[in-house]
């Protein structure tokens, strides 16, 4: 029994930390209907500022907390002023993409400044344990609980009794009405981002102290956990976020107690998916609400796509096809092979995110499913590689669509959260399902690419193979877009309510989009598995999902040619300028931000 008390206390304490992140997210969502994907990055920044203060400046604890809160708040203000305020009148997808871009830029800046290696963050508190019932708690547990409760109280007093707090509450209920009554919404946004960032930063520092370790992977985890807690409590609902956080902490803690540590995140994401499916407005939402009133076609930037004549495309394809006949280096071919593989993923994502408007942040999971299926088929069942890759594509189409189907009734930002979570679930299942996936060891000795019994080993043959597969997929997708399905997908993206009123079933068409897109991504993953000959649960990660998203935005949402052009540009240009790997993700993040701000329709325009 005593251990159960321990798990309960631990769950509440971890939940308290999540609450600091989730409350910030809830405040921001309440005021600007935006899920701030950069919240975890502020948490990360807070942890590292805490490290600088404690380890290098030797500040006492109260001062450390103040320094961290102030510095994190400053970061929050900068994000609000320069990242989001310019997008106020932009399309709905813009701020979502901007916070994703900001999050990657901040994470990379921290990584480049402090190196990706974990660091110790000592807690500055005496190491004693108090006996409570059958379990024990330490001073840090009490501090975390204290900070959580104090900030909740301060926030309550601020929202309830200060003039700015009133303005925040007014703006979160009805932004337009508040503006008409003279509320300065920019000031409200500043206040909200400042508070949210301060809470997030302090939370990052406390968690660092709790585990006596900080590293750059904390950011994504914190965003995910905070978002899970917030959504469980009901997006925009501050008290709900606190309860949701404690619930999340307890669910995780009990899950760990029963199944072991590696299942911690799995429980968090399963909780999220269950809540999204059963109560998409959160556990504490009042009864079903009136459907929101979206404005026509404002999710993506309207634009006229650049029309490229067919002959020009044919010439470009021919030039790339005969390229290996000229004396080009293996390095160039290798780079282009990577571009073609990314191109297949981008084709998939541009269909799902662009054509039917489901901005997926977990797209790398489709690569992983395809790769593992193809690798295991060829290794365990001796299926010929060509067929195994097709098997990977089919599995990715079927499994990917099944996994994502619970989120088909969600809209906008919620889709992104659900896909992010499902991507993480796939990666965790791969890690834990050792009897099939070989767990953390990964799969090695995957046979090389071969076709009709001939091994494709030379870079030239691999180049031709991947190029032709990509071209076939692109032609198929182009054909799909000109059919009635292309029209139906785009109608659902522009206005799902009007689409339903004209008989378009969202489940049916979203499924078809994910089946087609899942196939392309699965093929890409399958080919990659046979090229790399070794894969594990980290081979296909969130960075690839974000890279693919940047490619898709760069090329133009839904634009087939744009997806390929974007892939060549984002794989090729960093190689051309010999940019070191650690700077590339930073550059992708900055490219994403600049695009969202200055050319949201991408290079070739939305289709």
């Amino acid at each position: 029994m005593s251990s159960w008390l321990d798990y309960t206390i631990n769950g509440l304490i971890v939940g308290n930390v999540y609450a600091l992140v989730a409350v910030g997210l809830a405040l921001i969502f309440g005021v600007s209907r935006l899920i701030n994907f950069a919240q975890g990055s502020i948490y990360l920044v807070g942890a590292y500022i805490g490290w600088v203060a404690v380890v290098q400046l030797h500040t006492p604890l109260p001062l450390t907390i103040i320094v961290v809160a102030a510095a994190a708040a400053l970061v929050g203000l900068i994000i609000e002023r320069f990242g989001l305020r310019p997008l106020q009148n932009s399309v709905r997808i813009a701020p979502l993409l901007a916070t994703i871009g900001i999050s990657f830029v901040l994470d990379q800046l921290v990584m480049l400044t402090f190196s990706p290696n974990p660091r110790a963050l000592p807690s500055q508190l005496p190491d004693v344990r108090f006996q409570v019932g059958g379990g024990t708690i330490g001073p840090l547990d009490l501090l975390i609980a204290g900070v959580g409760i104090t900030s909740a109280l301060l926030l309550f007093v601020f929202l309830r009794y200060s003039k700015l707090g009133w303005a925040v509450r007014a703006a979160s209920q009805d932004r337009d009405a508040a503006m008409q009554m003279g509320v300065d919404v920019n000031r409200v946004n500043q206040a909200v981002f400042g508070i949210a960032a301060a809470l997030g930063g302090v939370s990052g520092m406390l968690v660092g102290m709790y585990y006596n370790q900080i590293d750059t992977a904390m950011s994504l985890q914190a965003t995910l956990k905070g978002v899970v807690a917030e959504v469980v409590g009901g997006a925009g609902n501050v008290p709900g976020a606190v309860v949701g956080s404690l619930l999340l902490g307890l669910v995780e803690s009990y899950g760990v107690a029963v199944f072991g540590t590696s299942y911690r995140n799995l429980f968090a994401f399963l909780l999220l998916v269950v809540v999204l499916v059963l109560r998409p407005n959160g556990l504490f939402a009042s009864a079903r609400q009136a459907p929101p009133e979206p404005l026509t076609g404002t999710f993506i930037a309207p634009s006229r796509p650049v029309r490229i004549p067919r002959w020009a495309l044919a010439v470009a394809a021919a030039i790339f096809a005969i390229l290996p006949l000229f004396p080009v280096s293996f390095y160039v071919l290798q780079t282009l092979i990577n571009a073609w593989l990314l191109g297949m993923l981008a084709l998939s994502l541009t269909l799902v995110a662009g054509t039917i408007g489901q901005v997926s942040l977990g797209h790398a999971a489709l690569l992983a499913i395809g790769a593992y299926t193809s690798a295991l088929l060829s290794l365990t069942f001796a299926v010929p590689v060509g067929l195994a890759i097709i098997g990977g594509g089919l599995m990715s189409a079927a499994l990917g669509t099944t996994l994502i189907s619970p989120s088909f009734r969600l809209r906008g930002h919620y889709v992104s959260i659900a896909t992010l979570a499902i991507g993480e679930i796939v990666s965790l299942v791969i890690l834990n399902w050792e009897s099939v996936t070989r767990g953390p060891i990964g799969i090695s000795g995957i046979p090389p690419l071969s076709l009709f019994g001939y091994d494709l080993i030379s870079p030239t043959s691999i180049y031709w193979f991947s190029l032709s597969v990509m071209v076939v997929l692109a032609l198929l997708q182009g054909r799909l877009l000109t059919s009635h399905l292309g029209r139906s997908f785009r109608a659902i993206r522009d206005d799902d309510i009007a689409a339903r009123a004209y008989g378009l079933s969202l489940n049916r068409y979203k499924s078809l989009a994910f089946i087609f897109g899942g196939f392309a991504a699965g093929i890409s993953g399958g080919i990659a598995a046979h090229l790399y000959s070794y894969i594990n649960h980290e081979t296909f990660n969130t960075q690839q999902s974000i890279l693919a998203l940047t490619v898709v935005i760069l090329g133009g949402l839904g634009n087939v040619v744009g997806a390929i052009l974007g892939s060549v540009a984002l794989v090729g240009l960093p190689e051309m300028f010999r940019i070191a790997a650690e700077y590339r993700i930073l550059i992708y993040g900055i490219v994403l931000l600049l695009l969202v701000r200055f050319r949201p329709q991408g290079l070739l325009g939305t289709i």
Partner: protein, 275 residues
């Protein structure tokens, strides 16, 4: 043809639609008028499945359709336009109207359960002759529908809907509804934001549709148009039906005058019709 019995929808403490009874015979045109916030659009949402009633029942051609999904109701032949205008902004005028014909697609929507969607995907990619022929036929049909709006839409058939004027978007919505070949058409303020000439055109079109035998439920603020077109008029206020009858009867009903005057939202009914 359409019959509503005790239809009720509450939002929190507010009863937006309060025990509404309504019968609509085939070929009839019935108008619903009433001050803003009277519950007219909510009533439309309940009939078309975008919202579910808290109480009451909807029957369409003798079948209970209460709470069915909008997709199902579209397949049953119920088409509507939206008050604020909901065209598909990035789709061309042609594609917008073709979406209206979606429920009528036969060649590309095989009726097999479960594998139906996969066959639909396959047919969309392979496009055998039957699929091409159906698409061609529908395109011709769309052009014929657009021709009903004179030269307003035809020259813009390939332009994206976001580039159209407000009035043209309303026309696209009506064209889209007609492409469904509806048995029941619900028009939510088709002339909102239109000038007198455009309103007169729209009125002529609705009169034409009525003459062709289409059953129409119309929400409209412009009383002159309502009086000329309607077989019957229903007046709603605060969710309730406060009057029903022929145009002139309703117009002089003291309860109706009070509803418009008493709320002080838009002055007298006459002023509103001029607005």
């Amino acid at each position: 043809m359409l019959s509503l019995r005790g239809l009720t929808r509450r939002f929190g403490g507010l009863t937006a639609v309060d025990a509404i009874n309504l019968d609509l015979a085939k070929g009839e045109l019935v108008s619903i008028i009433g001050p803003n916030g009277a519950g007219k659009t909510t009533l439309f949402n309940l009939v078309t499945g975008l919202d579910r009633p808290d109480a009451g029942a909807v029957q369409f051609e003798g079948q209970g359709i209460t709470g069915l999904s909008p997709e199902r109701l579209a397949a049953e032949g119920i088409a509507r336009t939206f008050q604020l205008g909901r065209v598909f902004g990035n789709l061309s005028v042609m594609d917008n109207v073709l979406i209206g014909a979606h429920t009528r697609l036969r060649a590309v929507k095989p009726a097999f359960p479960v594998i139906g969607p996969l066959l639909e995907l396959g047919l969309a990619l392979l496009r055998p002759a039957s699929v091409k022929a159906e698409e061609e036929r529908l395109r011709e049909e769309v052009k014929a529908i657009l021709a009903r709006f004179g030269e307003r839409l035809l020259p813009r058939v390939d332009q994206p809907a976001y580039s159209l004027s407000y009035a043209n978007r309303r026309r696209v919505e009506i064209a889209r509804a007609l492409a469904l070949k509806p048995r029941l058409l619900l028009l939510d303020e088709p002339t909102a934001g239109m000038n007198p000439t455009e309103t007169a055109e729209m009125q002529a079109l609705v009169a034409e549709l009525k003459a062709e035998g289409l059953t129409i439920l119309l929400i409209e603020h412009k009383l002159e148009m309502v009086m000329r077109l309607s077989d019957r008029v229903i007046v709603m206020d605060e969710g309730k039906k406060i009057a029903e009858g022929l145009g002139e009867q309703v117009r002089s009903d003291p309860k109706v005058i009070e509803a418009y005057l008493g709320h002080g939202l838009s002055g007298t009914a006459e002023q509103e019709s001029a607005a």
